[in-house]
């Protein structure tokens, strides 16, 4: 859910360049970590999971102004390295349909990519503690989002952007109503906390809950997708 809808030209050059440099370094590492025959086999899966992330982001959840990011799920399915590449691809696409600027792709990839990686790591840690799959997924998703949102607030604070924008950034209308209209001056930190924390909490809850539902469905049908043993079919 945490993807920055920032346009071009508002973030200081230094920061978006740093975003790109970090992304390039991570991509380089990711590519050197996947062996090339394996990578060739995985091209379709990588491309398709990126498409799924994109679709998750373009279907509104009914009337709730949130979109699913599915980054943690991507991490669970693809692993950290391919997952990072998927984060890059889906962010590149979003920029190429005018959702967020092209200069911010680097920063966005760092944010979503760390969601992928942290989600993957947490899922594997939690899974070791239990034979269950759904609870670890929900926990990993929630915790990942808390970490990355904190991280992202850091990023945008450095970049001198109002953090409110980021957390509510999934829906342009919501911002217009809740921020622009009533607040011609900068939000105070206290106001920020009182407005944003509940919103973020709801967002995190929805994403974690939805990811849990999706994984529950997958476990019932094709458990091997999320790394569980294949289900024996009664015939």
């Amino acid at each position: 859910m945490s993807h920055i809808h920032l346009p071009d030209g508002v973030i200081p050059v230094f920061w978006w360049v740093v975003g790109y440099v970090l992304t390039a370094a991570m991509l380089g590492l990711a590519i050197s970590r996947t062996n090339s025959t394996e990578a060739r086999r995985k091209v379709p899966l990588l491309g398709i999971i990126a498409a799924v992330m994109l679709i998750g982001q373009s279907i509104p959840l009914g009337f709730i102004p949130f979109h699913l990011g599915l980054a943690v799920l991507a991490g669970i399915i693809l692993g950290p390295w391919l997952g990072f590449m998927a984060a890059f691809i889906s962010n590149m696409f979003l920029a190429l349909i005018g959702h967020g600027g092209i200069t911010v792709v680097g920063l966005n990839t760092v944010v979503v990519g760390s969601e992928v990686i942290i989600g993957y790591l947490l899922y594997n840690i939690f899974r070791r503690a239990t034979v269950e799959h759904i609870l670890p997924v929900i926990l990993a998703t929630a915790l990942t989002l808390i970490i990355t949102i904190a991280f992202m607030i850091g990023v945008v604070a450095i970049a001198q952007v109002n953090p409110a924008l980021v957390l509510m950034g999934e829906d342009a209308g919501a911002i217009k109503d809740s921020v622009v209209v009533d607040s011609p001056v900068a939000l105070s930190l206290r106001r920020f906390v009182t407005i944003i924390v509940p919103v973020a909490a709801i967002g995190i809850a929805i994403e974690a809950f939805a990811t849990g539902l999706i994984v529950r469905f997958i476990l019932g049908v094709r458990p091997e997708i999320v790394g569980a043993p294949a289900r024996e079919r009664e015939r």
């Binding site: 071009d8 508002v10 590519i31 398709i48 679709i55 005018g98 900068a186």
Partner: protein, 233 residues
């Protein structure tokens, strides 16, 4: 959904701008963004926007349906503008920066099919990334069609009541889970298809129309003049 709309315009329409080469239009965007980054002069952005709008007018596109896409940039820059503290840049300039860059990007993507843009990335990005992006592009349409069919089926089966939030979430979870399995199966099928068709890395991308050098000058000139004005204004 936006992707399908944009893709359709880039692919199925024809105009001077459509016939300019992909490189020239990518260059145009790069130049405009460079101008956006360095300039703080309102006149520069007014001029850039005027040029871009003129380019839109000769591009045989439903301009009034495309420009709202720049609304994202407008709204977000507005928030940034009203809430940013200091820096010496006026809110108007921040908004103009964002909108100018966004409009340039829209001009590129509504006149250039995505694969043509990715193909340019071959020089910079590793093969696996570009190939995966092409797969993303292709599978987006396959999956989107599937999602649309599932939603239609849900409607026909009476599962479309906006009043039951919990029920809707549950259904959404199922639908997305369902979509995920389909996506997985699609990836297995595509993987098989690519193996058996001899895939060794490097998906070819050929032009879908004849590009003209003459027309390609137009976007390059547009971008260059914006940048020149930005430097000297």
């Amino acid at each position: 959904m936006d992707i399908a709309f944009i893709d359709n315009l880039a692919y199925n329409r024809d105009s001077v701008m459509h016939r300019a080469s992909a490189v020239s239009k990518v260059l145009m965007v790069a130049l405009v963004i460079a101008a956006v980054v360095i300039s703080t002069e309102v006149v520069v952005f007014i001029m850039a926007l005027a040029f871009l709008l003129m380019a839109f007018l000769i591009s045989n596109l439903p301009v009034l349906r495309i420009l709202p896409f720049a609304g994202y940039a407008l709204v977000f820059s507005l928030v940034f503008a009203v809430s940013s503290t200091g820096g010496g840049i006026t809110p108007l300039v921040i908004m103009l920066k964002a909108v100018t860059a966004a409009v340039a990007m829209l001009l590129l993507i509504t006149t250039t099919p995505y694969p043509q843009i990715f193909a340019l990335g071959r020089k910079i990005f590793p093969t696996i990334l570009i190939d995966a992006m092409l797969v993303t592009y292709r599978s987006f349409f396959i999956l989107m069609e599937q999602v649309e069919r599932v939603i239609i089926a849900l409607r026909m089966r009476g599962a479309y009541s906006p009043l039951r939030v919990a029920g809707n979430l549950n259904i959404m979870g199922k639908v997305i889970g369902h979509g995920f399995i389909h996506a997985w199966e699609l990836s297995e099928n595509m993987q098989n298809a690519m193996l058996i068709r001899g895939y060794r890395g490097g998906m070819p991308v050929s032009a879908t129309r004849k590009y003209s050098i003459k027309y390609s000058l137009l976007p390059v000139l547009l971008g260059a003049s914006v940048l020149v004005v930005a430097v000297f204004a």
